[in-house]
């Protein structure tokens, strides 16, 4: 009975969380008459893909923001991994106290609200010619991504059995080779999680983008544009499109995100 109650509550919470998503999906797939009625229904009565085809056929108006967002997010997550994998590996080698201090130090950058640093960043970028460029946006996004991906990866590497790495070194690997042949392949799960998270943090980023983009907006900016114009169908269609890549990425990489990847390595 108790279990049943907990189960019921969980389902209820799940539905509550999913309901807005459903509404978004519903609006993006319903004809205007279905939505603008005095008693809108919960189900899709008049199904249409018209809004999607409208968005997709709007040409550069849609494709440029999509391209910019995809490139920015991909580059930002790759760059984040490039920096945070070595950083996190190094941090994880310290003892617990120093590790903790370093993590806190990294997170200090996140304690400053983005709105308050976005303006100085934008001014600096205008001076050095990074304003309204992908490179500039990637750099700005790294401010928010790096602490998080470092944090995830420090956890991953700290949990990595030290003996495996030592074994590789004794088996004839240099330190570098031990990392590339043993540590990294066996940490792919955690690295993937950090990567997806980084992608997500850049993909839906709004504040830096709104300061640093002018002529070439990103997807969230474009969506905001339609929201501010009150275009319900465009904004919810954009919202659906923005949601998709993250789901897709998680789906593709889920085989790396599984527990028990290290089982059999050591006896705990």
């Amino acid at each position: 009975m108790r279990q049943f109650c907990i189960f019921g509550i969980l389902i209820l919470l799940g539905l509550l969380l999913l309901f807005p998503l459903y509404v978004m999906l519903k609006i993006s797939m319903s004809s205007p008459s279905d939505i603008f009625s005095s008693h809108p229904s919960y189900l899709i009565r008049d199904f249409t893909l018209g809004h999607f085809s409208n968005v997709f056929s709007s040409g550069s108006n849609f494709l440029y923001p999509l391209k910019k967002s995809l490139i920015t997010a991909s580059l930002a997550s790759l760059a984040a991994l490039l920096f945070s994998v070595p950083a996190a590996y190094a941090i994880s080698k310290f003892n617990y106290r120093i590790r903790y201090i370093l993590i806190i130090a990294i997170f200090i950058t996140r304690m400053i609200p983005e709105v308050s640093i976005a303006l100085p960043v934008a001014i600096a970028f205008i001076k050095i010619g990074l304003f309204d460029t992908v490179a500039g946006l990637v750099m700005a996004h790294l401010i928010r991504i790096l602490p998080v991906s470092c944090f995830i990866l420090v956890g991953v590497f700290s949990g990595f059995p030290e003996e495996l790495e030592k074994q590789a070194r004794i088996d004839g690997c240099s330190r570098m080779r031990a990392i590339t042949k043993v540590v990294l392949p066996l940490s792919l799960g955690g690295i993937t999680v950090a990567g997806i998270f980084s992608f997500l943090l850049s993909w839906d980023e709004f504040i830096f983008a709104s300061y640093l983009c002018l002529a070439r907006p990103t997807m969230p900016l474009k969506m905001y544009y339609y929201i501010s114009r009150g275009d319900l169908f465009y904004s919810s269609t954009y919202a659906v499109i923005i949601t998709l890549p993250v789901l897709l990425l998680s789906f593709i990489f889920q085989r790396y995100i599984r527990p028990g990847y290290l089982s059999g390595a050591i006896k705990g």
């Binding site: 059995p161 003996e163 495996l164 030592k166 074994q167 590789a168 070194r169 004794i170 088996d171 004839g172 690997c173 240099s174 330190r175 080779r177 043993v182 392949p185 066996l186 028990g260 990847y261 290290l262 089982s263 059999g264 390595a265 050591i266 006896k267 705990g268």
Partner: protein, 360 residues
Amino acid sequence: MAVLRLENISKRFGKLWALSDINLEIPDGRFCVILGPSGCGKSTLLNLIAGLEEPTTGRIYLGDKDITKLASHKRDIAMVFQNYALYPHLSVFENMAFGLRVKGFNDDEIRSRIERVSRILNIEDKLNSFPKELSGGQRQRVATGRAIAREPRLFLFDEPLSNLDARLRIELRAEFIKLHRQLKRTVVYVTHDQVEAMVLGEMVVVINDGCIQQISDPIELYQNPRNLFVAKFIGIPPMNIIELRLIREDKELSLEMDNFKLRLTCEVNKRLNELINKKVYLGVRPSGIELSSDGQNEAEIMFIETIGEDSFVHLRLSPTIEINVRLRDRMVVKTGKSVRFNIDFSRVYLFDEHGDRIYL
């Protein structure tokens, strides 16, 4: 020749000296066991030899070569860890091949070596399995096989059996002896288990608090401990240690505490004279004491322990002194009764208050 020589090795972690002034030479082909309680620095010593850590001071030689600063992958050493450290993403075959591939051996050579090693270790049918499909004993065999396949100059074992259950431990212990006879390589084997050390070691190094306490063969270690630590540490059940005071009466020396008194029957040497009226530890193994009706001292029987064929009687000599005596000849004794006993003085060890042996 793979003689391993450690000269004045010390290792410091922060403020803590994990090892201080270790000097040790292990001859070629010798099975050397490093024995000590947990946290004594024995694993650190192994890591230093393996090159996984650098000593704070001192030098390490393998053969004639100084390997102190040499990276571990250039040392031609194989190591087996307590938790096996198998690569979980590789099959058993690939686990054993890993080191050989890194060293650039060709496939035929790798295959023939692994087949030979897996035959010796009885894991031929497991070559395509993955580590998670193996039992603890099999994993340990694979880890050992991986080390053997490398044909290194020196084998290091870091408590390889302590994660296994008792039966398997005895089985694999015997296999290690056979393997060593077959391979004739120098082995450094770290353990906290004195039985393993006694059975496997041709040479045993006892370490405590980062210092070498004694280096000798197992029998010598048991019969002739150099200090109080070794005396206490070696032997099951442990040696009885009694804290006494050396007293001189006329020309006779005796050891006393409360109402217990033991006359020294040996010659009085200079060393003993220095220790008069000082604290002295007397050590005697449970088998060095005999219960007999005409014994010198009297004590009360606390309880009796029977382990297989042996029985041990716990005696209370005084409110503060209790000893353990091995029962001979199926003597019948009862708890709570008082008995008389003799201490065989030829089997007594004396230690001064710093724990150093007083040789008589």
